[in-house]
Symmetry: C2
Subunit: 160 residues, 2 copies
């Protein structure tokens, strides 16, 4: 999808999908959260071809989601880690995992459980809520043009 298309949509979801909306790209990010940091790790965990993995790692480096670093041991291997921008994808991945847990694998069949390393407490269901912790159903959600709204967005959400 071209940059033009994304600009036309004036939408942060479209923008995010353009950067990470590819099956393998997001699974590489998932694996980095799980602790993978080498080409060999990613390849083994995902069972992905060298070519595809090389391409997706480069895309993630170009997007500033992953960065390279050198291993501290004598091998001085080239490794990959998430940047701040990459780590900020955590809520997106956890939302995806929770939806899949509920609607694909089903309750009682979750492959992985997320916990706090500090308290060992489980992660709660991600919710859309206000600063005052009012939890919102889709019907209660309103959309208004933001500071970066273009004319189409302003017209669209003014009509509601």
């Amino acid at each position: 999808m071209s940059r033009k298309r994304f600009d036309t949509l004036n939408c942060s979801i479209a923008g995010t999908l353009e950067l990470v909306g590819d099956w393998w790209t997001l699974l590489v990010v998932r694996d980095a959260f799980f602790g993978a940091n080498s080409f060999t790790d990613f390849r083994k965990n995902l069972g992905i071809s060298r070519n595809i993995l090389t391409d997706r790692l480069q895309r993630l480096l170009d997007a500033g989601i992953l960065e390279k670093f050198q291993s501290s041991d004598t091998s001085k291997r080239e490794l990959y880690r998430l940047t701040t921008k990459g780590k900020d994808l955590l809520p997106l991945l956890v939302s995806m995992m929770q939806w899949g847990d509920r609607w694909i694998n089903g309750p009682g069949h979750e492959p992985v459980t997320l916990v706090s390393r500090t308290s060992a407490e489980q992660i709660r269901q991600i919710r859309v809520e206000t600063e005052g912790h009012e939890s919102l159903m889709p019907e209660q959600l309103g959309f208004i043009p933001g500071p970066g709204a273009d004319q189409t967005t302003r017209q669209r959400f003014a009509r509601k």
Copy 2:
């Protein structure tokens, strides 16, 4: 991506990506949240070809994310709405929007602002937290094999 591949990964994120991890599919869902419900609406908002839209709507119906209903006016038009399964994608879409707001459009340039229709309060940043509202950074997150873990997943997360 084949069902075999998805099963091999034993992962709810992979499963979710298989169902909705296509650019246009998620943008159709986004548009349904924004209030679009007819073929014409989706087509106008997304600037998408008839063929692609027909295909994505069918995928979403097959996946049980959208359902058809008949308009209550005299036109008896065939319309589309989100099912419970579809509405449950809201946290995923909001996470995506917030990430794009921060990292693509940038603060002060957000195209759309989400608010509560009840209180008019803005939606807060989605966080990964425990039931006790302990907010977690990626480093504090632990992964343990869930009830649906296969042997590979059990071995992988037992090693950490």
